[in-house]
C-alpha cells in the first residue's frame, strides 16, 4: 500500500465535538452529544458502551453515511471501509463476485480485479472458495469474506460495527487473531464497536467507554499487554473487569 508522507501525529480520524440529533421538536432524540475522539494512524481503538450509546451512529458519521448535527468528523486523506453486524454479502454473487463489488465501483480493470480477489482470499485464508456462494459458508467464513471485501476498497481505515457478535466463542477467538494479523500486516487504522468488554480489551490499543442516551465519552483506557494477547489471560480479565465496573455504574444511572 502506498502511504502518503503523513507525519505520525496527524490523526487518521479526528472526531471533534460532534452531536447527532434525530427528528425535530419534542420528538427529537439526541443520539450523540459532544463526542470527541482522536484516532492515530495504525491505531486500533475499541468503542464500548451499553445499548443506546450511539456506537452505530458514530460509525455511520465517520463513514460519511450521515452528517453530524454539530461538530465535525475528519478522515480526509483516508479511505474508509465498514463492516456490519451481519456480513451483508450479496447473496446473488459468488464469494469472488462479492469481493469484486467495491473494485467494480472503482472501475478497476477485470484482470486486476481477479488478481486482487485471489490475494485477498489468500489473506483471509479462503483460497479455493472463490466460486462458492455466501450461503454455502459458515458465519465466520462469511465474516472473513466481508473483511476481504472491505479491504478490496483499498481502505486504510476500517470501521467495524460488532462484526463478531453473532459468532460462537471459538470462531470469534480465531477471528480476533486473524483480524489482529491483518491489521498489523496492512497497517490499518481500526475503529471497533462492541458490547463485549473482553473483546474490546483483547483487540484494542485503547478502549473508549461511552455513556448511553445521549452517547458521550466517559473514559478512555490504554490497554496494557504485549500482542498477541489471549482473551482468557488474567491481564485481559483484570482490565476488562475495571472497565465493566465503570460501565455498570453508568448503566445503573438509567434505572
Amino acid at each position: 500500500m502506498t502511504t502518503t508522507a503523513t507525519p505520525a501525529r496527524v490523526p487518521a480520524v479526528e472526531i471533534s465535538g460532534i452531536s447527532k440529533v434525530f427528528g425535530h421538536g419534542t420528538g427529537a432524540v439526541t443520539a450523540i452529544d459532544g463526542m470527541s475522539i482522536t484516532v492515530a494512524p495504525g491505531e486500533f481503538v475499541s468503542l464500548v458502551g451499553a445499548s443506546g450509546c450511539g456506537k452505530s451512529t458514530l460509525l455511520s458519521l465517520v463513514a460519511g453515511l450521515e452528517s453530524p448535527t454539530t461538530g465535525s468528523v475528519d478522515a480526509s486523506g483516508h479511505r474508509v471501509a465498514m463492516m456490519f453486524q451481519e456480513a451483508a454479502l450479496f447473496p446473488w454473487l459468488t464469494v469472488g463476485g462479492n469481493i469484486e463489488v467495491p473494485m467494480k465501483a472503482d472501475r478497476v480493470p477485470r484482470a486486476e480485479r481477479r488478481r486482487r480477489v485471489a490475494d485477498l482470499l489468500d489473506l483471509v485464508r479462503l483460497s479455493g472458495f472463490d466460486r462458492k456462494r455466501p450461503h454455502e459458508l459458515s458465519g465466520g467464513m462469511r465474516m472473513r469474506v466481508a473483511l476481504a471485501r472491505a479491504l478490496a476498497q483499498d481502505a486504510d481505515v476500517l470501521l467495524m460495527d460488532e462484526p463478531f457478535g453473532a459468532l460462537d466463542a471459538m470462531t470469534r477467538d480465531i477471528l480476533h487473531d486473524e483480524l489482529e494479523r491483518i491489521w498489523q500486516e496492512r497497517g490499518l487504522t481500526v475503529l471497533f464497536v462492541t458490547h463485549n468488554v473482553r473483546e474490546a480489551v483483547r483487540l484494542g490499543d485503547r478502549v473508549v467507554l461511552l455513556s448511553s442516551r445521549p452517547g458521550r465519552v466517559i473514559e478512555e483506557f490504554e490497554v496494557e499487554g504485549e500482542r498477541p494477547r489471549r482473551i482468557d489471560s488474567a491481564l485481559i480479565a483484570g482490565q476488562a473487569a475495571a472497565i465493566t465496573d465503570r460501565l455498570r455504574e453508568e448503566v445503573s444511572r438509567h434505572a
Partner: protein
C-alpha cells in the same frame, strides 16, 4: 513462520468442521434422482386420472346429452386430431405470439412505472394505490373502451393485456425494491455504489425474487386478458385459440371446444412451470430454497 501456519491450520480445520455436514447434500445418485422425479410426478398423474374419471362419471350420469358434454373418450381423440392439423399450430402460434408481444409491452411499461414509482416519493403517493387498484380490476372491463379506441384489432387486445399485466409487474418490482435489506443498502453505499451502479449491481438483483413473482402474476393476467380478448374481439379469418373456441361454440362442436380448453390450460401450465423453475433456481442460488 510456524506460528502463522499453526493458526492457518486452526482456521482451515474449523472451516472444514463447519462445512462438512453440508457437503453430502448435493450428491445424488441416478437411482435417487429417479426416485425424486417419481415422487414429484405420481401425485400429478393421479390427479389427472381422478379428474378424467370424475368427468367421465358425470357424462355417464346423463346429466347433459353427450353432444353438449362429451366425455374424455371423445374429447381426447378430438384433441389428437386437432393437434395434427396445420391450422391448429397456426392458431397456437398466433395466440402465443400475441401473448408474448403483449407481455413484453406490459414488461416494458411495468418496469418503467415500477422504477419511477419506487424512485419518486410523490409519484408513489399519487399512483401507488392506483396500481394496486388496477391489479384487482377485471381486465375484461377495458375491452369495450379498447374497441372504441382501436376498433376490432390486435391493438385493442394488446391495450388490454398491458393494462392487465403491467400493474402486477410494476407492483412486484416496487415491493422488491422496497424490501431490499437496509443492511445491503448500507453496505452498497459504504462500497461507493451510486447512480446506475447502485441499481444495476445492488437494487435490481436484490429485488429479483419479488420481481419474478410479479412477472408470474403478470403473465397470469396477460393470458386471461388475451383469452377474453380473443373471444370478444374476434378478428375475422385470423386463426387463434380464441377464434377456434368461438367457432366451435357456433358450430356446436363440443368435442373441439373442450379440446381447445385443454390447450389453453396446457399453455398456462407450461408457462407456470417455467416461472416456478426460474423462481426455484433463483432461490437455490440465494440459498433460500426450501
Amino acid at each position: 513462520m510456524p506460528d502463522t501456519s499453526a493458526r492457518g491450520r486452526e482456521v482451515r480445520g474449523l472451516d472444514a468442521l463447519e462445512l462438512r455436514p453440508q457437503e453430502g447434500r448435493g450428491e445424488r445418485g441416478a437411482a435417487e434422482a429417479l426416485k425424486g422425479f417419481w415422487a414429484a410426478t405420481w401425485p400429478k398423474l393421479a390427479a389427472v386420472a381422478l379428474v378424467l374419471a370424475a368427468w367421465q362419471a358425470v357424462v355417464w350420469s346423463g346429466w347433459r346429452p353427450e353432444y353438449v358434454l362429451p366425455g374424455p373418450d371423445r374429447v381426447l381423440p378430438a384433441l389428437v386430431a386437432e393437434v395434427s392439423t396445420p391450422e391448429f399450430w397456426t392458431a397456437v402460434a398466433v395466440t402465443v405470439r400475441r401473448a408474448l408481444t403483449g407481455f413484453a409491452l406490459a414488461l416494458a411499461v411495468g418496469v418503467a412505472v415500477g422504477l419511477a414509482v419506487s424512485r419518486f416519493r410523490p409519484l408513489r403517493v399519487a399512483i401507488g394505490s392506483l396500481i394496486t387498484g388496477l391489479q384487482t380490476m377485471p381486465s375484461i372491463v377495458w375491452f369495450p373502451f379498447a374497441m372504441l379506441l382501436y376498433g376490432i384489432s390486435e391493438s385493442a387486445i394488446m391495450f388490454v393485456i398491458v393494462l392487465g399485466a403491467a400493474p402486477s409487474i410494476a407492483g412486484g418490482l416496487t415491493s422488491g425494491i422496497d424490501y431490499v435489506s437496509p443492511t445491503l443498502l448500507r453496505a452498497g453505499r459504504v462500497m461507493g455504489l451510486s447512480g446506475v451502479r447502485h441499481y444495476s449491481m445492488l437494487v435490481v438483483p436484490a429485488a429479483l425474487p419479488m420481481f419474478v413473482s410479479g412477472l408470474k402474476q403478470g403473465w397470469a393476467f396477460a393470458w386471461r386478458s388475451l383469452m377474453a380478448g380473443e373471444l370478444l374481439v374476434v378478428i375475422n379469418q385470423q386463426d387463434s385459440i380464441g377464434w377456434a373456441l368461438s367457432q366451435a361454440r357456433q358450430l356446436n362442436d363440443a368435442d373441439r371446444l373442450l379440446a381447445y380448453i385443454i390447450v389453453v390450460l396446457a399453455v398456462g401450465i407450461v408457462v407456470d412451470v417455467f416461472f416456478t423453475w426460474a423462481d426455484r433456481a433463483l432461490r437455490r442460488r440465494w440459498g433460500i430454497a426450501a
